[in-house]
Amino acid sequence: MALKLGVPSKGRLMDKTFDWFGAHGVTLEKAGSEREYSGRIEGVPGCELVLLSAGEIPRELAQGRIHLGVTGTDLVREKLAHWEQSVKELTPLGFGHADLVIAVPKAWVDVETLDDLDAVAAAFRRRHGHRLRIATKYHRLIREYLREQGVADYLLVDSQGATEGTVKNLTAEAIADITSSGETLRANHLKVLGAEPVHRSQATLFKSRKAAWSEAERGALVAMLEALGLDG
């Protein structure tokens, strides 16, 4: 069987991944029409290109259905429990930078730090009779972070898209999401909490620790790593 490399199936992430491999002498190409989700790899024999949604790549790696994969470190940490046991970071790729941040209304002039958020959460709960809601799709990362920081009286509510709009729509009081320029946050009258983001993410090449490696696949991996100038 061929070594399977999973890469994001569309958009800038796909283009930049193709560019990055291309710069290392490995050509990734979509097969057939622009809309077909299959492809090929030239430059390293014995490899197969699998085009996937970036969000599914962590799970495919963890289940060993692909050997290598390109996705964000945020998605790996969010979607995989004990991610270090399932995948290994081979190298950051230098694009797809995004910070996972907690953001609150800009009008909250009294809130700059987690300390403030925690105090506001306590007062909010007393006044409104329910916990301060934080809309996010990064449940694991945000819960871990807030537990570690000892923040209380909040509730994570699920938001899979247009998260920045939840505060205005009164379905949350704060949000936690990834941002690169902060433009969407500003447009929705939100500001970032704290000096450091919860997590700094970028596109990264991962190796599966769960895949079964045949002789041929191992050989292909060695050739691929050599082409990319990486250690296993």
Binding site: A107, D110, E112, T113, V120, F124, G150, L170
Partner: protein, 365 residues
């Protein structure tokens, strides 16, 4: 005997011991109403509970522990004193610790009796020690009440003490608050200037952009007033925060710990009554034949794992197996009965044993 049969036998043995100690055996539903229950737990258990929806009953949760449902049941009946025993599974997702199963058996004992809390503490601990005897477990104890008394005795305004008590179970935020109140942590950048303008009467909300969300301008102004007032407060003295540090880092055998607490009480008289309870409890345990010299006492024990305990706390650990969770844990939770009592309250103490760990330790010999 197969593993399941051995586990069943262990559950029966422990339940029988609890029944013989005077407990009424109760059976509680696996599905519990989520709303009242989940609010009482700390973020950790709350985030790990399995919730589901029923078309009539609304949001339900697979019980993540027994104590809260037992307290709820007891407070609804109102009869006291009472002793309850129960056995069954609890359910918690194990995202962070995926090697542990999402459900495990617990056998528990809860004692509701306000007449002599120290005797009740000793009764529960001695019963657990007896049921677990022969397993070579290390017992650790503590008393959250000492730390609470120390915080309430600080020379600080009530809202500062309330903020600290709220975070007794979250050591990191507790520390951050102490650093702020003692002037060791800097204010966020721009905060001083903001408060200055607020004090002058400037409309500091006007330039902040449109008001969105449920938290309104009067709430923001209210907090600004609190912050402005707090900035005028004198800092907590290093002497006082040092005494708090001494309490939370205390780790000694029980008699030595008592000596240290007495020394601390000389400089911090507010903990005198709480320290007297520690002493009376040790005497009551010794009178029951327990070797209190071998008992560990940790001033910070129970702060991270047991969100609703507010007095005596204890745990039994397999000394040779640090990879295992505690074999048994328990403690006093008077405030929980207040939260669930609808005006009534009753001092209560109890704990749970994990029979699967008892059985595993027995098999390992």
């Amino acid at each position: 005997m197969s593993g399941d049969q051995a586990l069943d036998a262990e559950i029966v043995r422990i339940s029988e011991a609890f029944r013989a100690a005077g407990a009424q055996v109760v059976d509680l539903p696996v599905l519990q109403p989520a709303e009242t229950l989940l609010d009482l737990y700390g973020e950790d258990i709350r985030g790990r509970a399995y919730t589901t929806r029923d078309p009539l009953a609304g949001e339900l949760v697979l019980r993540p522990d027994f104590t809260v449902p037992v307290v709820q049941m007891h407070m609804a009946s109102g009869a006291t004193p009472a002793r309850y025993a129960y056995a069954g599974k609890v359910f918690r997702t194990q995202e962070l610790d995926s090697d542990r199963p999402p459900e495990h058996d617990q056998v528990g004992y809860e004692l509701f009796d306000g007449s002599d809390p120290v005797a009740a503490d000793a009764e529960v601990f001695a019963l657990f020690a007896e049921v677990l005897s022969g397993l070579h477990l290390r017992a650790a104890t503590g008393d959250i009440g000492v730390l609470m008394a120390a915080v309430r005795g600080l020379s600080a305004p009530d809202y500062r003490k309330a903020a600290l008590v709220r975070h007794i179970w979250r050591p990191r935020r507790f520390r951050a608050l102490l650093d702020r109140y003692s002037g060791r942590a800097p204010m966020p950048p721009g905060r001083m200037a903001l408060l200055e303008r607020f004090r002058r009467g400037d409309d500091v909300l006007a330039e902040a952009g449109p008001m969105i969300g449920l938290r309104g301008p009067e709430e923001i102004r209210e907090r600004l007033a609190v912050l402005a007032a707090d900035a005028e407060q004198p800092p907590l003295s290093a002497a006082e925060t040092d005494l708090l540090d001494q309490i939370v880092t205390l780790r000694e055998t029980a008699p030595m710990a008592l000596e240290r607490l007495r020394d601390i009480a000389v400089d911090m008289p507010a903990i005198t009554a709480a320290v007297a309870r520690v002493e009376a409890r040790l005497e009551a345990l010794a009178a029951k034949g327990l070797d209190v010299d071998a008992l560990d006492f940790e001033g910070g024990y129970g702060r991270t794992s047991m969100e609703y305990y507010d007095g005596f706390v204890f745990g039994f650990y397999a000394a040779a197996r640090p990879d295992l969770p505690p074999v048994a844990t328990g403690g006093r939770y008077d405030a929980l009965t207040r939260a669930l009592g609808g005006g009534a309250e009753i001092p209560a103490v109890g704990g749970v044993i994990r029979p699967a760990l008892v059985q595993a330790l027995r098999e390992a010999g």
